[in-house]
């Protein structure tokens, strides 16, 4: 589904990603771990098409299409979702208005029929319920005055509404208390299927107890230095990065 080959990027003349190779098949969950500044968030941004990062070599193929150079909205329409590490606030734009705009534009771009309002509202309500979200959120401005944990739950809400093929979760677990972590994890597991894939960027093994990954990769200085199964995260928790990155 996703194939990243020898990806190198720079920002303001600084090399960040330095030859990433990663292949994600449908239904797989990949965890990416690594010390601060190793390029994890850059990888997420580049996959989502953020323009300040320049891809100097390599390719990113998603569903057999090279997505390097596509606009963020084009990549989103292909089914890539990014749960932001620091979700922004957009005062005055209600979550309901926002989700409707997202879905309507996608349906139009993909030449799909518009989603009937009744289905849309039903889906919103169900999703609120499954994430234990107060329906009042729907009429509030996006993330306006939300706590850190609420913002992250809101990201998962949007993910479930948009039903993406590939979800990239950039430190979604950071700053969550144990109850919120469980809710967020259950949201991810709800979407998990044989056709939907995930890249979970995290510092902590904690979330991986709830969302068990198929692969764990360790990123250092813009390269994947080690890959393994779920047990690699456990080992990392015990030894720290210094044992692995030499």
């Amino acid at each position: 589904m996703l194939k990243i080959s020898n990806l190198k990027t720079i920002i303001n003349d600084t090399k960040i990603l330095n030859g990433i190779n990663l292949s994600v098949k449908p239904g797989e969950v990949h965890a990416i771990m690594g010390p601060n500044g190793s390029g994890k968030s850059t990888l997420a941004s580049v996959l989502a098409g953020k323009e300040e990062h320049e891809v100097v070599s390599g390719s990113i193929k998603f569903l057999n299409e090279n997505i390097v150079g596509l606009s963020p909205e084009e990549i989103a329409h292909l089914g890539v979702f990014l749960s932001f590490q620091y979700p922004v606030e957009i005062p005055g734009v209600s979550l309901m208005t926002f989700m409707k705009a997202c879905l309507d534009q996608r349906q139009e771009k993909l030449k799909q029929p518009a989603i009937p309002a009744s289905d849309f509202i039903k889906k919103m309500r169900e999703t609120c319920k499954s994430l234990n979200i107060d329906p009042d959120w729907l009429s509030r401005g996006i993330n306006d005055g939300f706590s850190g944990g609420e913002k992250k739950r809101n990201e998962i809400f949007q993910m479930l509404m948009l039903n993406p093929r590939l979800s990239i979760l950039d430190e979604t677990d950071s700053g969550l208390d144990i109850d919120a972590l469980k809710i967020v994890s259950s949201g991810i597991n709800m979407l998990r299927s044989s056709s939907n894939s995930f890249i979970i960027i995290t510092h902590y093994e904690r979330i991986l107890n709830y969302v068990v990954p198929d692969y764990v990769h360790i990123l250092s200085e813009g390269q994947i230095v080690q890959s393994g199964g779920a047990e690699l995260a456990k080992k990392l928790e015990e030894t720290g990065y210094s044992e692995i990155i030499k």
């Binding site: 957009i90 005055g92 734009v93 309901m96 926002f98 409707k100 534009q105 996608r106 401005g141 948009l162």
Partner: protein
Amino acid sequence: MSEENKILKKVANEKYKYGFVSKLESEKISKGLNEDVIKLISKKREEPEWLLSYRLKAFERLKGLSSPKWANIDFKEIDLQSISYYSAVKKKKKYNSLKEVDPELLKTFKKLGISIEEQKRLTGVAMDVVVDSVSVATTFQKELKKLGIIFCPISEAIQNHPELVKKYLGSVVPTSDNYYATLNSAVFTDGSFCYVPPGVRCPMELSTYFRINEAGTGQFERTLVIADKDSYVSYLEGCTAPIREEHQLHAAVVELVALESSEIKYSTVQNWYPGDKDGIGGVYNFVTKRGVCHKKAKISWTQIETGSAITWKYPSCVLKGDDSVGEFFSVAVTNNKQQADTGTKMIHLGKNTSSTIISKGVCAGNSNGSYRGLVNIAKNAKNSRNFSQCDSLLMGDKCGAHTFPYFECKNNSSTIEHEATTSKISDDQLFYCRQRGISEENAIGLIVNGYCKDVLKKLPMEFAVEAQKLLEISLEGSVG
């Protein structure tokens, strides 16, 4: 909501939509301003003697005045002698139904997206449509008449209700008020008149579309709205104008009189031609709008200003009676080389009076937007309150937003609160929206509409949608 999205779709690459000129036969007086021209205007309109002397008095005063220089705008002085002061759509006969109206005119309405028939049938909006300076179509007259409500062109009111016009014309904005109001008093041609009798609640939104149509014709509208005791009226005004290479002067005067315990809501969507991206062309909009609130009365001004090369406009409330209320809700958008100096004046004279000001400025391109507001609480206006909130949103780094608040409080039992913020649309906000599949242009529209929500929600439904669309259209191409 689906309406909102239909609008979102339309935004991409839309130029100023209303740039066409309708080929109506116009009757025009040759350029220039002198006593004879004023006499001619008055004669053409078959006006009574008292109005002619009102006009001439104003003209006499105008001779000693020059245009005010204090606003934060930059433009070439307008030569009043280069303007033609009267342009009437030639009347073949009086119109009793739409069928008799010039088909060219009906086409104009269609291009503007106003189907009068539809308006009549579906929306319950009575339209008094002004093309150039003469009103040619008035609808819903009969229904309003049953309630005793008078809603007609002011020229008709002068003929049919001279006692009302004589009593209130110039009572809120005197001929001596300011340069542009004085000019208007001397040369105004037409506009709307509304009177709501005591105890009557006007059941529909009264609406007027203004349009400047004749090249080089200054337009001098005069509007007078009177709400008698315990009455209520909501008045909507929406504007579009065709593309012209030369600047067009618009100097309107609007007077509102809210008698005891009455309420007037006055909403404006102003979308006149702003000029091209280099600042060529565009309407100069110098407007004087003011209302007087008697005891327990309330006036709300809501304005969405997106058009005009220059906007100079301060809809104000004189809170004369005790316990009266004044409100001002404004969104002013400037893009390219547009300049806006707009705000309000809240003059508290009565006891326990209160006023609210919410102003949202949005500046993009090379434009300049200023909020200028005065809150004046007089010595006898005990226990009065004001709350002001003035926010500016900047897009790009070549525009300017300015706030000029003036406060005067002459007693110690009143309170004034003022809040002001300046913000920018951040790249992070745009990227967030785009990652969710919303294009940059639509994301800007969404964010700006969210920012202006507190004001937009004050508009009547019919206008809220149009206003959102306008905000998006006026900010096209402002980022990236």
